[in-house]
Subunit: 411 residues, 2 copies
């Protein structure tokens, strides 16, 4: 990760992460862009590991995304190779061959089919990726593979991130304890339309690929797709979930399985934890903002209203300025295009009502609201007064730090 | 207008503006929010003046917008009352009564129907507007009404604007010279979904209301709807066009009239000139950016791609940093959701090819591109390689100045 100041919203420390049976990780400094830090992650998973994935909806997706989309059809994963510093995006035919060479090298080392090797690249767009730096390192990295290298792995995949991101949950399926553990990177170019960054989640539960895919899509919808930093969508966003089956539970059989909801909740929680950490590392972020929308036509409308507020530069700069400028919230609700009642709309900031029935609460006390705005955790609740739809979304403020980071990232 | 530094992108001076026969203007300092400057504009138009309008698509539109939408049905305009500093938005039932009282006062002064009085308010959202400050001043303002007070009018309607905005064109309809002249305000909360600020255009041409409406909608689509500062949409956006008929031309009879295209072009040009000035006054703007998209599926797709690039915080901060980071342009094209060919896409910056056939132009000379990025007028051309659709959109960069202005606007 770049040597910038750690986000003031960062967790105190990287979490204690358990071993996920059947998963081994190694990292290495391959000098792709960064100096003096690991920038490649190599993960080996036991044979029989199933895989699920969701990817950027960008129409200019990078070659590694194309590769993973195709590989996903096989439903099995044996390896993951990730590099930071170069996104291998918009690199033409040569970019695809770069992927193929990396995949082939990993497949040969592990003696598996190329379609069981997954890849992801993050960093600058439009520059050629020198894959020999990766392929030349994989053999040595294979010797370093070990369970539990989570923090090093999370650090190796970071770009403008200021802290490594990890999350884990354990649950019991049919009397057997299974673990879900994941890492993520991302701090700008974060917006819905899917995964919105790189995140890799691993479990030792036994879950057939189609069920795993359903669980992951649900988790993504309830986590990464409800967070936004700047509304921009990367060409490389990738969320993968691997299930080794090594915990020894009876494989989940589908949505009717009594354990399905238990497992789904665990994956949701890991993804939401990671998604929140990505927002907390939003470029230049000084405040973590939770926006709860109620009273919308349906939950989809509530989510779109929430994201319109969360993505509004005027709302985000007001929050940066610790200004409870709820007029801008009204503006952002209006631009969402979703139905909202001007007569019944109500807004609460930090739990304090500022607007009700379509206008300012007469003589409301600005004191506690101003105090709330000075804090690092901002809560905005909006009831739009037309139905029962609800959704919560998360974002950060827009500060000078965002400009600093992004006005000279490449140079 | 606020006492901030004039935008470096401002025109050298307010244009020479002609008299538009049948239009008289007056301004006054009514102390609604600002101190020591005019903040109310009163315009009287001759009887028989036709009117057209387009308004914000916000679902939380302000009461003045509601009023104008209804009044537009009558097709005639005798007066316009505009105030700056308070948007009279999200002010509930009381906000609507505020409008009604202002309208009634103007209608009584001019002895006309209330439905011929148009109103607009701009400024802070959610605060009660003290209409007595306006109604109490109208009578004195009536005595000040005079043709040609354009610059004072443009200044009176400004909020965070750093310079007054005016534009004019003259054309000949059936041998008679007619004039089109307009003023505008707006520097933030500017985005498509219609007028995106306040703009008032006046002509002495004779044009029936339905034809005037068609001309205005066309002009809006080719000007304000193709510019963006921050993607935010105001609750108050209003674009009105009044035609007094005092030039004495034979009234336009419709799209088949040989003079229709001439008049339409003049209104388009005035609107585009005003729209460009609004972008040039974008909050904190240091660069005026023209984005031309070709090769899209159709012109609508081209416009949406252009606006996705124009609204991308990552593209806008890169431009602020004078960084020709075309990878972010690729990202933004991808997030538009419109069809684009990764194999055939090409990007030119300042006329210099940086990417062709889906990857970087090998060994392109960064020198002239870097020189172009240091200038104040940035040209980006994108060919997405799938069809014949074309569109041009305009925006500005995203700088520390935007944060400065918006993090403490209300306090």
């Amino acid at each position: 990760m770049a040597a910038t100041k750690v986000s003031p919203l960062a967790p105190e420390r990287f979490p204690e992460m358990p071993v996920v049976y059947g998963v081994r990780l190694a990292t290495r400094a391959c000098g792709l862009r960064y100096v003096g830090r690991d920038d490649v992650l190599f993960v080996e998973m036991d044979e029989g590991t199933t895989v699920a994935g969701v990817f950027t909806r960008s129409t200019t997706a990078a070659p590694p995304v194309d590769w993973c989309r195709n590989a996903l059809a096989g439903g099995q994963g044996r390896a993951l190779v990730v590099n930071a510093g170069n996104a291998n995006a918009f690199t033409g035919e040569e970019g695809l061959r770069t992927v193929e060479r990396s995949v082939r090298a990993a497949a040969e080392l592990l003696d598996c089919r190329p379609s069981r090797v997954f890849v992801a690249s993050t960093g600058v767009i439009g520059e050629r990726l020198d894959d020999t730096k990766i392929t030349g390192a994989l053999s040595a990295m294979k010797n370093d593979l070990a369970p539990g290298n989570w923090e090093a792995a999370a650090r190796a995949i970071g770009t403008t991130d200021t802290f490594p991101k990890g999350a884990t949950r354990s649950v019991t399926l049919g009397g057997v304890e299974v673990t879900v553990a994941g890492i993520a990177k991302g701090s700008g170019m974060i917006a819905p339309n899917m995964a919105t960054m790189l995140a890799f989640v691993f479990t030792d539960a036994a879950v057939p690929a189609p069920i795993l895919q359903a669980v992951l899509e649900d988790a993504n919808e309830h986590s990464f797709n409800r967070t936004t930093v700047d509304g921009d969508t990367s060409t490389s966003d990738t969320l993968l979930l691997f299930a080794t089956g090594r915990a020894g539970n009876i494989p989940l059989i589908g949505p009717d399985d009594p354990d399905f909801d238990v497992f789904r909740a665990a994956v949701r929680e890991v993804c939401l934890d990671l998604a929140h950490q990505v927002v907390r590392d939003g470029e230049g972020a000084s405040k973590f903002v939770t926006i709860t929308v109620t009273g919308a036509e349906d939950s989809g409308a509530a989510k779109r209203i929430g994201l319109a507020v969360a993505d509004s530069p005027l709302v985000k700069t007001a929050i940066a300025g610790e200004d409870a400028n709820w007029g801008r919230i009204v503006m952002a609700v209006g631009k969402s295009g979703e139905e909202a009642s001007r007569e019944d709309m109500a807004i609460r900031i930090g739990g304090h009502a500022v607007a009700e029935q379509g206008s300012a609460v007469p003589g409301y006390d600005e004191g506690p609201i101003a105090a709330h705005m000075r804090g690092a955790e901002i809560d905005i609740a909006i009831d739009v007064g037309v139905g029962d739809g609800e959704a919560t979304v998360w974002t950060c403020d827009l500060t000078h730090g965002y400009i600093d980071i992004n006005a000279d990232y490449r140079t």
